[in-house]
């Protein structure tokens, strides 16, 4: 028999207590993992950014529009290989809960800037030809059962009125990080309507997407773009796509901080529950530890026994919790509008963090019982009533 066998036998000694502890740890780790996944989903936009794309938007706030005329000027800046743009359209598709990105774009240039959106050639051509055609991300097409040729009626809010689009293309995401929930249509369609209904709003775009030849030039190209429009009525702010996405995250920074804080609280609770169990267990075994010491077992052996028991419980709870994270995340993803968190997956980092948590908690929870057991004198331990 090895010491390991003794550890396992000791764990099985208190089936109810240890089962409850494992359960408690598993539940807490599951929530820890889910919370981290929500935080990761928040940052998904940042992760999906390409380092050769810049976003140029209105300096004050991206909710203000920029003139269409800026496009030609930006194109002429050295280092720029392409300029396209988009307008956030918003609106309501059937129900307000059906949230996903709906944007007006320049059909000839937009998809060049986003090679991670994969579209079949003939679909793309069909989309470009028709004025009220639209491209849908695969996930949205599947969620609403929309096929090529279907009509999408949208009730506009930012741009009031009833709008109709025909699905002419579906794009697939190139990899896991790519957003597959966008709906894109012709900016000309929007502009024509604005010329009729609200002329003051025509000729305006939301933000420019600037592709640059060399990613290391990002900062200097950004500065050049902004310098062009300084002191004009619509000043611009240009930055890498990652920085742009990051600014969204930062705006709700407090919420993310709060979620991270809650993650720590959860870890704290796991620790308390396990420490509680280990303290109780160790207290009941004082006499046994004294006997082992009498036989000649050392401090090191005792540490192995106690920490081993603690780790066995915490790792079992950790593995159980981990296995619960995945179905829970899938369940949540199925119930929130897919456009809200386009990427909602458990990342390897989360798995690593959860496992590390289980290990660290297993070790820390054993600290006090170990200290007690090793510092106690044999004779006092023998005197203890079990």
């Amino acid at each position: 028999m090895k010491i390991i066998k003794l550890i396992f036998k000791n764990v099985l000694r208190h089936k109810l207590r240890n089962a409850l502890t494992v359960l408690g740890i598993a539940i807490a780790i599951m929530f820890f993992g889910v919370l981290r996944t929500v935080v990761d989903a928040w940052y998904a936009g940042v992760d999906a950014s390409a380092n050769n794309r810049l976003i140029t938007r209105h300096a004050v706030s991206f909710i203000f529009t920029l003139p269409y005329s800026y496009k030609e000027q930006i194109l002429r800046i050295p280092g720029v290989s392409g300029v396209t743009f988009a307008n956030w359209f918003g609106g309501v598709y059937i129900k307000p809960e059906n949230f996903f990105a709906r944007m007006a774009i320049e059909p000839d240039t937009y998809l060049d800037a986003y090679p991670e959106f994969l579209v079949e050639k003939d679909q793309l051509e069909a989309f470009k030809k028709e004025r009220n055609a639209c491209i849908l991300g695969e996930k949205i097409a599947n969620q609403f059962n929309l096929k090529i040729g279907d009509i999408m009626p949208i009730e506009g809010d930012i741009y009031p009125g009833s709008w109709e689009f025909v699905v002419r293309a579906v794009y697939k995401p190139r990899d896991e990080k790519t957003d597959a929930t966008q709906m894109l249509f012709h900016w000309q369609y929007l502009d024509e309507r604005m010329r009729q209904d609200s002329p003051s709003r025509a000729g305006q775009i939301g933000w420019y997407v600037v592709t640059i030849k060399d990613p290391s030039n990002a900062a200097s190209v950004s500065t050049s773009i902004d310098a062009l429009f300084k002191n004009s009525p619509a000043e611009t702010k240009s930055e890498t796509e990652a920085a742009f996405q990051q600014s969204f995250v930062s705006m709700s920074g407090a919420i993310v901080t709060a979620m991270n804080f809650i993650s720590f609280v959860i870890v704290g609770i796991i620790l308390l529950v396990l420490a509680n169990t280990m303290v109780m267990t160790a207290r009941e075994r004082i006499r046994e530890y004294a006997v082992l010491k009498t036989i000649g077992f050392t401090r090191g052996h005792l540490i192995t026994l106690i920490a081993g028991e603690s780790l066995t419980i915490s790792l079992t709870g950790g593995m159980l919790g981990l296995s619960l994270i995945f179905p829970t995340v899938d369940g949540i993803a199925a119930n929130i509008p897919s456009g809200m968190f386009p990427i909602f997956k458990v990342t390897p980092t989360t798995v690593v963090l959860a496992s590390l948590t289980a290990i660290v908690v297993g070790v820390v929870a054993a600290v006090f019982p170990v200290w007690r057991a090793t510092s106690l004198r044999i004779v006092e331990g023998l005197r203890q009533v079990a």
Partner: protein, 391 residues
Amino acid sequence: MAIPFTYTLRSLFTRKLTVALTILGIALVVFVFAAVLMLAYGVEKTLKSTGYTENVIALRKGSENELTSGVDRDLANTLLALPHIAKDPATGRPVATKEVVTIINLLKFSSNDMGNVTVRGVNQEAMLMRPVVKVVDGKMFSEGSHEVIVGRNIQKRFQGAQLGQSIKISGDSWTIVGVFESGGTGFESEIWGDVELVMGSLNRLGAFSSVTMRLQDNNAFEDFKATLETDNRLQTLKVEREQEYYDRQSRFMAIFIRILGLVITIGFSAGAVIGAMITMYAAVANRTVEIGTLRALGFRRRSIMFAFLMESVLLATIGGVMGLVIASGLQFFTISTMNFGTFVELAFNFSLSPEISIYSLLFSLAMGLVGGFLPAARAARLDILSALRAS
């Protein structure tokens, strides 16, 4: 005959470390629970209270808030000519304020990041319609000059927003001549200036963002709303009570905070409950002989169950009070985040209400009951003889 409460109380002291750990676990859960509720309430309070019960706000139909709304001058005048609108007895003019809302960027003190700040173009009537707003430092801006007053929150949290300094709106420079407070409502995160000049800077002399007005008869709101639906000229407008408007601004945030926070809290409260359960099971196991003795003395099963349940509830309540007390300390902190609805930054406080305190304590009570129930039942079911023989 009930087992004396002192038995329950003293039993807790015999296993100090275990009891302390369990209490701490529950305190932690209640802390987060209360904090989440306090934040949601703080969000609501700040935004809701901004709306004055008697004010009615008109926006362009389809716009969720003032920022994206536009109301033509003519349209505004047509609206204010309706008989429903209250009139100032002295001047005969409608009791209303036509305002324009935009945002500018200012540098924060705390993080060296830029933050969006709301700028509201107002006239003197705005002060009348919002009596809670008071200029506390400096003076009110003079109509017709490039002067502004800043809300207390802005003055505190942004660089370049002190009395005497100036800010830029669309390239024009405006001097800060006063600081105003508004009882903690959303206006304190705004900058106010002369409406006509602000519109000029923005190059949108033709349209306001919103019209806020009072009705002759506040109860006739539905009637007023119906009139607009049928009037051809006014079909592009929608009206709602100012309180409802601000409530809507905060609703998404408040719901989001509540749902996320509560789901997670209640979820991981399972951990704390399990901790309590483990502690109570151990207590029962260790006091088996005592229990047998008490039964032999004549105490009934249900008294035993009650005593142990009480112990668990007492544990949990102490934890709950602890968590609540620590949470109440959060009231000294201000969180600033982006309001998801408007993308504008707002500062929120944690606000403790009596309801939140009660909910928190009830929650801890529930944790104590759930955690203690099974162990207490086990204690009650012990057979006297085998209990006495246990060692």
